[in-house]
Symmetry: D2
C-alpha cells in the first residue's frame, strides 16, 4: 500500500450525467481519503462536468488509481491524480519588454510559484542578462531572412526542451499554427488589453485614443485565432485624462505581470479547466 505523504489533487472531467460526484467521492472514501476541499461545476450550456478535489495525506494512491480506472470504463470519467511536490517545467518566450519575465523569475526565486523555468527563448537579446542572473539557459532565436526558419528553430527548441507549459511573456510575434496546436491548453499568453477590447497591436495607444477610464490585461490559452483563446485571468486599473500613452504602458505593465503570474499559478495548481473555449477556474 502506497499512501500519500501529502495532500493530493484529483481532477475530474466528463460529459454531465447523474451520480458522478457520488461515484468519485465514494472511490476516495473507499481509498481511505478525506476530502479537504471539493469544487465542482457543471456547464449547463454544453453539459460538461468538471471537478477538483483536494484529498488529505494518507489516501491509498494505488487503490484510488484502481477505482479511477474502473470509473473511466464504467462511467466514462477522466479522473487524474496529481501528487504534491512535482514542479512543472516551463519555457518562457519573450522579446524586449521584460517585466513579465522578471516577475516570473523573481516569484520562482521567492518560492511563490511551484514550477521551474527551464529556458528562456527570445527573438531579441535583451533578456539574456536577466536569465543569466537567474541561472536559466537563454536561447536567442533571431529572425533572419525569413520568418519560417525562425519558427522552425523555435519549434525544434521547444520539442527538445519538452516543457509542460509554454508562457508567452510579451513575446511580440505570432506563433505558427503547428506550434500553437502542439501546446493546446498548455501555452499561456498575456495580452495587454481587457479582451475582447483592443485585440491585436498597440492596445494602449488605441485605449488612449478611445478615452477609456480603465485599462486591462488578459492572460489566456493560445489558440489558432489571435487573442481569442480561453481567458484565464483578467484585471483592470483606473486611468485618468492625465495619463498619456507612456503612462498607460507603465500602469498596464503592473496588470500584465499580475494576471500572467496568477494565470501560471492557477495552471500549475491544476485549477483551470477548458470547456467550450471558456475556462472553469476553481480557486
Amino acid at each position: 500500500v502506497r499512501t500519500s505523504p501529502a495532500p493530493v489533487v484529483c481532477t475530474v472531467a466528463s460529459p454531465d450525467r447523474p451520480g458522478i460526484v457520488a461515484a468519485v467521492t465514494a472511490a476516495i472514501a473507499a481509498s481511505g481519503g478525506n476530502i479537504l476541499e471539493l469544487h465542482q461545476h457543471t456547464d449547463r450550456d454544453v453539459g460538461a462536468f468538471t471537478a477538483r478535489i483536494e484529498v488529505d495525506a494518507g489516501v491509498d494512491l494505488e487503490a484510488l488509481q484502481g477505482f479511477f480506472d474502473d470509473l473511466q470504463v464504467s462511467m466514462g470519467l477522466t479522473c487524474t491524480i496529481y501528487e504534491g511536490g512535482s514542479r512543472p517545467r516551463v519555457v518562457v518566450l519573450c522579446s524586449s519588454v521584460l517585466h513579465c519575465l522578471s516577475d516570473l523569475l523573481a516569484r520562482i526565486d521567492l518560492g511563490e510559484l511551484s514550477c521551474d523555468i527551464v529556458a528562456v527563448l527570445s527573438d531579441r537579446t535583451d533578456a539574456a542578462a536577466l536569465a543569466s542572473r537567474a541561472g536559466v539557459p537563454f536561447f536567442h532565436v533571431p529572425v533572419g531572412e525569413d520568418r519560417a526558419s525562425q519558427e522552425a528553430a523555435v519549434a525544434a527548441l521547444l520539442e527538445e526542451l519538452a516543457p509542460d507549459l509554454v508562457v508567452l511573456a510579451r513575446y511580440m510575434r505570432i506563433l505558427p499554427e503547428h506550434i500553437v496546436e502542439a501546446y493546446e491548453g498548455r501555452m499561456i499568453n498575456v495580452h495587454h488589453s481587457f479582451l475582447p477590447a483592443f485585440i491585436g497591436a498597440n492596445p494602449y495607444r488605441r485605449a488612449h485614443e478611445r478615452g477609456v477610464k480603465m485599462i486591462g490585461a488578459t492572460a489566456h490559452y493560445v489558440t489558432a485565432e489571435l487573442d481569442a483563446g480561453p481567458i484565464i485571468e483578467q484585471d483592470v486599473t483606473r486611468v485618468t485624462h492625465a495619463d498619456r500613452v507612456p503612462d498607460l504602458i507603465r500602469l498596464g505593465a503592473d496588470l500584465e505581470r499580475a494576471v500572467l503570474v496568477r494565470a501560471v499559478g492557477l495552471h500549475v495548481e491544476h485549477r483551470v479547466f477548458v470547456v467550450a473555449n471558456r475556462t472553469c477556474i476553481f480557486r
Copy 2:
C-alpha cells in the same frame, strides 16, 4: 412521489469526518437528483464540514428527506432541503439615515432580492414616507423616558412579526442581548467601516483623522459583542486628501447599501454558514 418542479438547495453542516460528500451525494443520486453545483468546505482549524448543493428539478423530495433523516442518525449530519420559491420574511430596523432601507425596498420592487420586507421599525419617523410609498407597514418605536421600555416594545413587535431575518439598516441603537440572542445567525447589521477598523461610533470622522486612503463598510451577523459578529461581506472604495468627512459619508453610503444588499441576498439564498465566528460563503 413528490418530485421537485424546480431546482432545490441542500445544505450540510457537520463535524468533519471521512465519507460525508460520498454519503450525501449518494443519497441525492438515489433520489433521482442531478447535482448542478456543489460547494464544499472543511474548516481545518476547527474541523467543521459545510456544503451547499444545488440539485436540478426532478429529484424525489420525499425520498431525499428520508435519506437525510437516516444520515442524521447514522453520521450526525445536519442536512436541510430548501425548495425554490419560498420568500423569507424580513423586518428592517432603521433610524434617520435611509439609503440602505431605500435600496433594499427598490431592489425587492425590481425583483432583485428574493425576500419580502414585512415591516419597518424605527426609533424615528423619517422612514415612514418611504415605507408607505412601498406599501410596507411602518412601526414607530420612539425612545421615551427609559431605554428599557423602548427595547421591550421592539422585542414584542419582533415576536409578533416573527420574521425569518432581521436587518439593521443603519439602526443607530445597540439592541439588548435578549433580542440579539433570539435572532442569532438571523440578524444582519451594516457597519460603516472596514471592520475591525473603527469599531463603534463616528467611523468616518475617525477615518478622516487617520488619513486613510480607502474607506469601507461591513455587513455582519449581530452578536452580543459590538461590531464583532461573523462578517458576511465587506467592500472598500478609494478616497483622497480632498475628501472631507461629508464626502466620506457620501462615498461610504454607496458601500453600505452595496454590502448590506449583497449580504441579505447571500443569506436568503442559503449561501452563508457560520463556523467559529467566521462565515463560510458559497457564491
Copy 3:
C-alpha cells in the same frame, strides 16, 4: 457689490497658451476670491487647456464676471461662473429595464444628486408606476406604425421640456441624429459593457460566450456614432465560470446604475470637460 453667499465653481476652456492660470487666478484674487480647490489639465495631444476652480464664498461676482469678460477678449478664454444652489433639469428616457431610473429617483429623493428629474419618457409603460410614486410626470411615446413619427414625438417633447441634461437610462432605441446633435455634451447614455468591448446589442450574452472574467458598464456622452461618444465613467466586476447570462445581467445591473449615477453627478457638478472625444474629469 454682489458677493457670493456660497462657494462658486469657475470653469475655463481654451486652446493652450502660457499665462492662463496666472491670468485667471489673478482675476479671482482681484475679486476678493479665495481658491479652495483648483484642477487644471492641458491635453498635450491637441493643445487644449481646461480648468475647474472652486472659489470660497465672499467673492465679488460682478467684478469676477467683468474680469472674465476681459479675458475672453484679451486671451480668448471661455470662463464660466456657476453659482451654488441651481439644480439642472433632467429628462430621463427609459424602456422596460428600470433599475437605473429607480436608482436615479432614489438618490434624488435622498438628496445625493443635485438635480431634478422633470420628466420620464418611455416607449413602454413599465416605468409609469415608478415615476408616479416619485411624483414625476411620465410620458408614454409608443412606437406605432413608423419609427420616424415616434422620434418626432420624442423630439417635440424634449423641445417643450427644455432639459439641461437628457439621460438615457437603458433606453433601448437608437435616437436619430437630429436629437443627438441638439444635446451634444448634454446627453448621457449607459451602455452595459466595458466599451469598446461589446458595442451594440446583447453585450452580456456575448461576454458569456467569450468567457470574460470581468464584466463592465460605461456611461458616455451620446454622439452620432453608436457607443462611440466620450466616456465619462466605467466600472467592472469579477465574474466566474459559474455565472450564466442571467447572472451577468444581475451583476451588471449594479455596475450600470453605479456608473450612470456617478456620471450624472460629475456632469451636474461641472466636473466633466470634453476634449477630442475624450473627457477630462476633475474629481
Copy 4:
C-alpha cells in the same frame, strides 16, 4: 540665462491665504514657463495650502528661483524647484522576508522607479544574495548582546550613507526614536494590514481569526508612534473562508510590494505632502 532642458516640478507649501496661486503662476509665467499640470489643495481643517506644478522645458530657472525667493519673503511661501533627471539615493532595510526588496530591485532594473538603491541593511543575512545579484552593497547588522548597540550601528551606517530616503521593506524591528526623527518625512514603511486595523504583530493571523473578507497593506511615513504615521498608499484584496493564514500571507505579499513600490514612486516624484499627519497626494 539657464533655461530648463526638461520639464521641472515646483512644489509650494504654505499656510493658506488668498492669492497664492496667482502669485506663483505669475512668477512662472514671468520666467517664460508654460504650466503642463497644476495640482492644488487647501486643507480647510488646518488651513494648509499645497501645490505641485509641472512646468514645461524652456523656463528660465534662475529667474524662477529669484521670484520664488521673493515670494518666500513677501508671502511666506515655501516654493521648491526640482529639476528632472536627479535620482534620489535610497537605503532599504529588511529582514528575512524579501518580496518587497526583490520587487524594488526589479523595478529599478527595469527603469520603472526613478531612484537608486545605494545599500541594503539587514539584521539577517537572507537578503545578501539578492543584493549581490543586483550589484547593491549589503550590510549585515546583526542583533547581538543588546539591542542598543545594533541600533547604534544602523544609525552610524545611515549617517555615513546619507540617503535621501529610507525604505523599511518588511524590516521586522522597531527603530529607535532618534533614527525615526532624523528621517521624518523621508522614511517609508510597509505594514501588512489595512491600517488602522491590526496594528502591530501578526496581522494576517489576526485577520484570519476575525474572519475578514478583505486583507490589506499600508505604506506610510514612519513616526515615533507604531504604525501611526501619515498613510501614503493602501490597497486591499478579497479573501474567502478557504484562505488560511499561509494563503493570506501569500495574497498579502502582492499587496505589500504593490503599495510600497507605489509609495516610493510617489515620493521620489515629489507628489506627497504631509499635512497634520495626513498625506496630500497629487497623482
